[in-house]
């Protein structure tokens, strides 16, 4: 029986795979590819004359029937509609058959409502508590960003395949646009999250008796996990979004990944050439440079994750850089919850931060930044923020795609001055594409992607340490990035070579499945009479009924044969005899050919010839025109109608074997 893996997402860091393993169907993550939103116009929080006055786009022949849907800005064409997302494949496998969904981190669950609410899914979702809480914040922010700017228009004409072909890139090349969907609602989010069952690291969860799944710390984000999926004789490790760097989360548990038959490896760093330490330095330098020159800094970011580490670095840096008087603003509908949540998940933090809790001190220094009024947070730029707002300043706000959220407003506000700087730290979106609808832009743009996930050197060390029999990974990891084809170090290098998959592909996982565990009932075990055939090894024959239910196999005593009626007069012994005759003894052992030949000679056979065969030997009694074929698991005596001779030979053979 094979274990297929269905790849539903082509994005290696936002995976969505389905694994059929031991008759369970397990979905591994459900990441949402949001890069599709880059094709849409930004949603301004405040009416933007610039954006609303963009010219409509018309075909080369002047046909302007699309000009309501498509707008042109600095040579790029954008869809003027509510942004839409590219969902995981829904056609490759019937998602209602998925039994469980395992979530590895909060970035990899953004498609959950689409799966749980619209596919007939009726299973359970497993995730750690911080993953769920922060995932909820990310979803809430996303819904809020999109819902608070209602847009009447929904563009669909351009998705027509015949029309799409006529559009300029990248719209022309966008994949599966017909499946793109608008954002879910808060109601759907709540319903999806209600299907989640919380788990803790190293907790063993039984699935239908056949499979056990266990989350392990992956070191990447608060509550982020890798998963072990195992039966009694097979082990699959699912590694997704792991980090070996010392940042805020608990360190990665590598030891438990050992002895895997298959290791599915996803979520490596998206910027393998950028060292996070160097990037943090770059971030700080550019921030200070801008602020010292009287400019403002805009940091488009998610409301959780790297922002905690950035705030911690800035906490150490601002005094030394003479930036103590510069206000830092964090604007997000979930800013407050994010900052507070981070402080309460002590058990999920790295050791250093855990120990702080006992002092007691807040584990993250952003608490102090807030106390000293250096960091202020607001749900939106409306309200208190507008009265507190002071420049020059540093603003952290979403969304990193620059298509919705408060960041759109700041881009419009600050984009015209070369004193200001936008610093991209999130690696999920191409910064050039993100900036396209804001061109021409005077503001400085700095790209410091900070991605703490495993790089290829770390992967290579990890694989050496963990030694899985097979590695399975997205195809992007099996060759150097197209732009750096000479960098053979930027790919997974392992033996045997990694098996790769791509979107909408089904892969048979290379298990050599040989054994199944079977339990034996105590009363049946009692009845066994083992016989030692080698020191330390005993055998017994078992007659039983194999009972299989819920993927568990049990040997039960055979039903007693129906008592023959009226047999009281028959002797007991005669009852047993037929049974004994039926049960031939079992043989074991091997026949040493030389001794066997000597024995034959002793018993008067002569002219014996021995031939070696691929499987054993043939002893040829030329005179008697008889063949004795001796193989590992069988012996055949071939003679012409001489039953006496056969029995004689059989008895000689049996002398060399043990019976029980």
């Amino acid at each position: 029986m094979s274990s297929p893996e269905y790849c539903l997402s082509g994005h290696p860091t936002l995976p969505c795979n389905v694994l059929k393993f031991k008759s369970t169907t397990i979905m591994l993550d459900c990441g949402l590819d949001m890069t599709s939103t880059l094709n849409f116009l930004p949603l301004p929080l405040v009416q933007s004359p610039r954006l609303s006055n963009l010219p409509g786009w018309s075909l080369k022949d002047g046909n302007a029937f699309l000009d309501k849907e498509l707008k042109e800005c600095s040579g790029h064409v954008f869809v003027d509609s509510v942004p839409e997302f590219c969902l995981p494949e829904t056609e490759l496998i019937d998602l209602s058959t998925v039994d469980v969904i395992l979530i590895s981190n909060y970035h990899c669950m953004m498609a959950l409502p689409y799966i749980t609410e619209h596919t007939g899914f009726s299973g359970t979702v497993y995730a750690t508590e911080p993953t769920v809480q922060i995932g909820r914040l990310l979803m809430e922010e996303l819904v809020n960003f999109i819902e608070r700017v209602p847009k009447a228009q929904s563009a669909s004409l351009w998705k027509n395949k015949d029309i799409q072909r006529l559009l300029p890139s990248p719209l022309k090349d966008a994949v599966e646009v017909s499946t793109w969907r608008r954002c879910y609602t808060m109601q759907e989010v709540n319903s999806a999250l209600s299907k989640i069952q919380l788990v803790g690291y190293s907790q063993k969860i039984e699935l239908f008796g056949a499979v056990q799944v266990t989350p392990l710390s992956s070191g990447y984000a608060l509550g982020s996990s890798n998963w072990i999926i195992q039966s009694h004789y097979e082990k699959v490790s699912y590694v997704s979004g792991s980090s070996l760097l010392t940042t805020h989360p608990q360190p990665m548990d590598q030891a438990s990944l050992k002895n895997s038959d298959v290791l599915i490896l996803t979520g490596l760093t998206q910027i393998p050439t950028a060292n996070p330490d160097g990037m943090v330095g770059e971030f700080c330098s550019n921030l200070a440079l801008t602020v010292r020159n009287g400019g403002n800094v805009l940091v488009p970011c998610y409301p959780s994750g790297v922002i905690y580490d950035l705030l911690e670095c800035l906490y150490q840096y601002i005094d030394s850089a003479g930036l103590s008087n510069i206000p830092f603003y964090f604007i997000s509908p979930v800013a407050n919850s994010s900052l507070e949540f981070s402080q309460i998940f002590a058990e999920w933090l790295c050791h250093n931060k855990q120990t702080k809790v006992y002092l007691p001190e807040p584990p993250f220094p952003h608490a102090e930044l807030i106390q000293t009024n250096k960091l202020k947070h607001y749900p939106s730029l409306h309200g208190d923020f507008s009265s507190d707002f002071r420049q020059p300043c540093v603003v952290f706000t979403g969304h990193p795609s620059l298509r919705f959220g408060d960041v759109v407003h700041f881009m419009e506000l600050w984009g015209k001055s070369s004193l200001n700087t936008v610093i991209f730290t999130e690696p999920d979106f191409s910064y050039l594409e993100a900036l396209a609808p804001y061109q021409p832009l005077a503001m400085k743009c700095i790209y410091c992607p900070i991605d703490t996930r495993l790089n290829f050197i770390q992967v290579s060390k990890l694989l050496k340490e963990v030694q899985p029999l097979h590695v399975v990974c997205p195809e992007q990891y099996t060759q150097p990035p197209p732009a750096q084809s000479h960098r053979m170090d930027l790919m997974i290098d392992c033996q045997p070579p990694a098996m790769s998959y791509r979107r909408a592909e089904v892969l048979a996982l290379p298990f050599k499945r040989r054994y199944e565990k079977i339990e034996i009932m105590p009363e049946l075990a009692d009845a066994l009479v083992p016989m030692e055939i080698k020191p330390g090894i005993s055998l017994a024959t078992v007659s039983a009924v194999l009972h299989t239910k819920d993927n568990k196999h049990v040997l039960q005593p055979p039903p007693r044969p129906a008592q023959p009626t009226g047999g009281k007069k028959r002797k007991r012994a005669s009852e047993d005899i037929p049974d004994c005759k039926v049960l031939k003894p079992l043989l074991s052992g091997s026949i040493p050919v030389e001794q066997f030949v000597q024995t034959l000679e002793k018993h008067g056979f002569s002219d014996i010839k021995v031939e070696d065969t691929a499987k054993g030997h043939i002893v040829l009694l030329q005179e008697a025109e008889t063949l004795i074929q001796i193989e590992e698991d069988s012996t055949h005596i071939i003679c012409d109608n001489d039953e006496m001779l056969r029995v004689r030979l059989r008895d000689l053979v049996l002398k060399f074997l043990q019976k029980f």
């Binding site: 160097g278 330098s285 440079l289 000479h486 960098r487 053979m488």
Partner: protein
């Protein structure tokens, strides 16, 4: 030797000879040996031995079978060597057959003590000291020591092995010169026995197949030729060069780097040098070949890498590759400035190789071959190679290169300066190399400004520098400031540079770094601002963070740092800037020089850091010279001051010095608890006294009551009570006090090190005896 020491010596020798009295501290033995060396260098060793028979007894005692510590044994061997360095003393010791017993089979050489590397090392050092005269050479040949030295070349202790090699070099140098120092005969048969033996051994080793043996021989030769250029070395080279040339023809060349070292030190026949150079260039040629680059028009790197030599072979693993490349680059860097460097020098291919290496390490190279990709994988992010290649690249700036290669050099330097992954040390070296390349950029005749290409580069460089000045890593901010200072010093007066710099934010950021939390950075910012200000490149900050433009002057800011900064480095830097400003008659200073000097000296005199006070004296000296109108001839930095030489009488000339309270500052410094300050002050006052003595026009007022009170105050100062100020001093009083002070005596006392009493040999002997409890009366003093 003074009588007190002579008295203590027998007891000490007895202690040393007694195995039950172990010497806990062997630094004492080193000091003792140093003392004996001083005595024997100054006088007759023979007299020393005759006057102190206990020494010979000690040496004799070493021959008895006993459990002596290896340290004492090694000490005795070395002592014997030191004593026997004088030929008459050698003869004296020979009379008792003491030396053959000590250094021959009968001594430690044949015993269990020989297992200790200390003893073997002592034996070598003893012979090294002893081998100073012809008698010693005979002795060495007779007692078979040379064979032992050969075997010690392979000693398990690296120190012993290296010392054995050095000893062979020394013996060879002693025995080779011909009669009366003339050239020795070419016939080996005419050479002294020792020399024949050593040369024979070297020849044998050069023919050996084992690389370690060849390496030993090459090292001995390298040291020989490196240290001595007497005619005999030529004779030796003539004899040995065929063997050395033979090594070069082997494939692969054995002990390649030792061979190159030797050839660099010999640097004689042209043909051989070219071969040696080729060996040295192999790794770089491999790099060029692996990255499929043209080895260059000069062809020097052509054919170096044959078919058998591939990058895989020469640069197999990361460790081997990095080690070999770093050594190669270091060798080439040393070779470049030497007159005997190979000609033609393959400047362009070497430049290409350095640039390629940096690109490979930085990840910007685009190798197309497998070998290139392999190298890329090995070198990516390797800080050691980056540092070595940047140093080498900097050195290469002394030559020129084809325009497109120079463009590549600047491009790769900019790449390193920009890269967020450059480590602070790499960045520092990148700054240094950049500066050197900017210095070497072609000059337009009659114009000292940067050439147009360099100016274009500067336009890219300044934004990078701006960013680096804001780095969270203080080392980076610091190297950025140092780089800025260097650039400003060279091109601060040039229009192109000034324009680019003033158009950037660099001056403003530098000013902000005066308040950096890291003291080193503040110090560098002070120096940089001092330089910028000297060149008129400081812009008054009027940004949004300084509303109203109420900006302190830089002078006030620096004075503030001098009086309040908690760390010494920034304050020292301020003093240096001030001294330079005074020398250059900086506009901020020239306005009211006296007020400036008075203010600075007042703050500096109270500084806790002696270097700040010493720098204060330097500033005082500059002021003094400018006031008296005659710069010191020995000071190269001194320029003729703009102030006109005084024409009036001396008293009038000294008035400004009195007004700025220079004398109070100098007198206070004279009794400073830190010796360098006192010495400097002493020098300054002696200089002033010499100046005033020559003019001699001032009436002395020695007997005035004011002079007496000043002298009394100075005595109290000398005693440590410096509370009382001197008050206003008149020039006459100053001169009188100056003459009455025993400045020469003070200078002599200060010249002696502060621990000269504790360092006396008598004290050493007493200490050694006290530790083992022989001097009972001193016990209480010990601790």
């Amino acid at each position: 030797m003074d009588p007190e020491c002579s008295q203590l010596l027998p007891a000490l020798c007895a202690v040393l000879a007694d195995p039950r009295q172990p010497m806990a501290d062997d630094t004492c033995l080193e000091k003792l040996l140093d003392w004996f060396k001083t005595i024997t260098e100054a006088g007759s060793s023979l007299l020393l031995l005759q006057g102190n028979p206990c020494l010979v007894e000690l040496l004799c005692h070493m021959l008895k079978p006993q459990d002596l510590s290896s340290r004492v044994l090694a000490f005795s061997l070395r002592l014997a060597g030191v004593l026997a360095a004088q030929e008459d003393c050698f003869q004296y010791l020979q009379q008792g057959e003491l030396l053959p017993k000590l250094f021959g089979e009968a001594g430690p050489l044949g015993g269990a003590a020989w297992t200790s590397p200390t003893v073997r090392s002592g034996w070598i050092q003893g012979l090294r000291s002893l081998a100073q005269h012809p008698s010693a050479l005979h002795f060495l040949a007779d007692c078979g020591a040379v064979d032992t030295i050969f075997s010690l070349q392979e000693d398990s202790s690296l120190f012993v092995a290296s010392a054995a090699g050095q000893l062979l070099v020394h013996i060879l140098g002693l025995s080779m010169p011909g009669p009366a120092g003339g050239p020795p005969s070419l016939q080996a048969g005419d050479w002294p026995a020792c020399a024949q033996k050593i040369v024979g051994h070297i020849e044998e080793s050069l023919r050996a197949t084992a690389t370690p043996q060849i390496t030993q021989a090459l090292n001995v030769l390298t040291t020989t030729f490196g240290h001595c250029h007497d005619p005999w070395t030529q004779v030796l080279w003539v004899r040995l060069s065929p063997l050395v040339a033979g090594l070069l023809e082997k494939d692969p060349v054995p002990a390649a780097h030792s061979l190159v070292d030797l050839l660099l030190s010999v640097a004689r026949p042209q043909a051989l040098r070219a071969q040696a150079f080729a060996v040295l260039l192999q790794p770089l040629a491999c790099v060029l070949k692996a990255t499929a680059q043209d080895p260059g028009p000069s062809g020097v790197l052509d054919g170096i890498v044959g078919d058998s030599m591939t990058a895989d072979m020469l640069l197999p693993s990361k460790a081997a590759c990095v080690g070999l490349l770093c050594r190669t680059l270091a060798h080439l860097e040393l070779l470049l400035p030497l007159p005997q460097r190979p000609c033609p020098w393959p400047q362009a291919p070497l430049l290409g190789a350095a640039v390629t290496l940096l690109q490979l390490c930085g990840g910007s190279a685009r190798p197309t071959s497998d070998a290139g990709r392999h190298l890329c994988g090995l070198l990516l992010g390797c800080v050691r190679v980056q540092r070595a290649a940047l140093d080498f690249l900097g050195t290469l700036s002394e030559g020129t290169g084809p325009r497109e290669l120079v463009t590549q050099v600047f491009a790769v330097l900019l790449e390193y300066l920009r890269s967020p992954d450059s480590s602070p040390t790499v960045l520092k070296k990148a700054f240094q190399a950049t500066f050197r390349w900017l210095l070497s950029s072609p000059k337009t005749p009659g114009c000292w400004d940067l050439d147009p290409h360099a100016l274009l580069f500067l336009r890219d460089l300044l934004p990078v520098l701006q960013k680096r000045l804001c780095s969270p890593c203080w080392e980076v901010r610091d190297s950025g400031l140092e780089f800025l200072t260097q650039m400003t010093r060279h091109w601060g007066g040039q229009a192109g540079f000034r324009h680019a710099l003033l158009a950037s934010e660099v001056p403003k950021l530098t000013e902000q770094l005066l308040r950096d939390p890291e003291s080193y950075v503040r110090a560098s910012a002070v120096t940089a601002m001092g330089q910028l200000s000297s060149q008129g490149l400081c812009v008054p900050a009027a940004g949004p963070e300084h509303p109203g433009g109420q900006q302190k002057s830089l002078l006030a800011e620096l004075l503030h740092i001098l009086s309040t900064d908690s760390e010494g480095f920034p304050r020292r830097a301020v003093m240096q800037v001030f001294t330079q400003w005074l020398r250059d008659s900086h506009a901020d200073v020239a306005g009211d020089t006296e007020q400036f000097v008075a203010g600075v000296l007042q703050v500096a005199s109270q500084d806790l850091d002696w270097e700040v006070r010493a720098q204060g004296l330097e500033l005082a000296l500059v002021f003094l010279e400018q006031t008296l109108g005659q710069p010191r001839s020995h000071c190269p930095c001194a320029v003729t001051p703009a102030v006109a030489a005084p024409v009036g009488p001396l008293a009038q000339a000294l008035q400004p010095l009195c007004r700025v309270r220079l004398f109070e500052f100098a007198f206070r410094a004279l009794f400073d608890c830190d010796r360098p300050v006192a010495q400097k002050s002493c020098d300054l006052l002696l200089f002033l006294r010499a100046k005033t003595a020559s003019s001699g026009s001032l009436q002395e007022s020695r007997s005035s009551p004011h002079v007496a009170s000043v002298e009394a105050a100075l005595q109290r100062w000398q005693a440590g009570d410096q509370a009382q100020p001197l008050g206003d001093l008149e020039p006459e009083v100053v001169l009188a006090v100056l003459r009455s002070l025993d400045l020469e005596g003070l200078q002599g006392a200060l010249a002696e090190s502060s621990d000269h009493v504790e360092k006396s040999p008598q004290s050493l002997l007493q200490d050694m005896l006290a530790t083992v409890g022989v001097l009972g009366g001193n016990e209480a003093d010990c601790y």
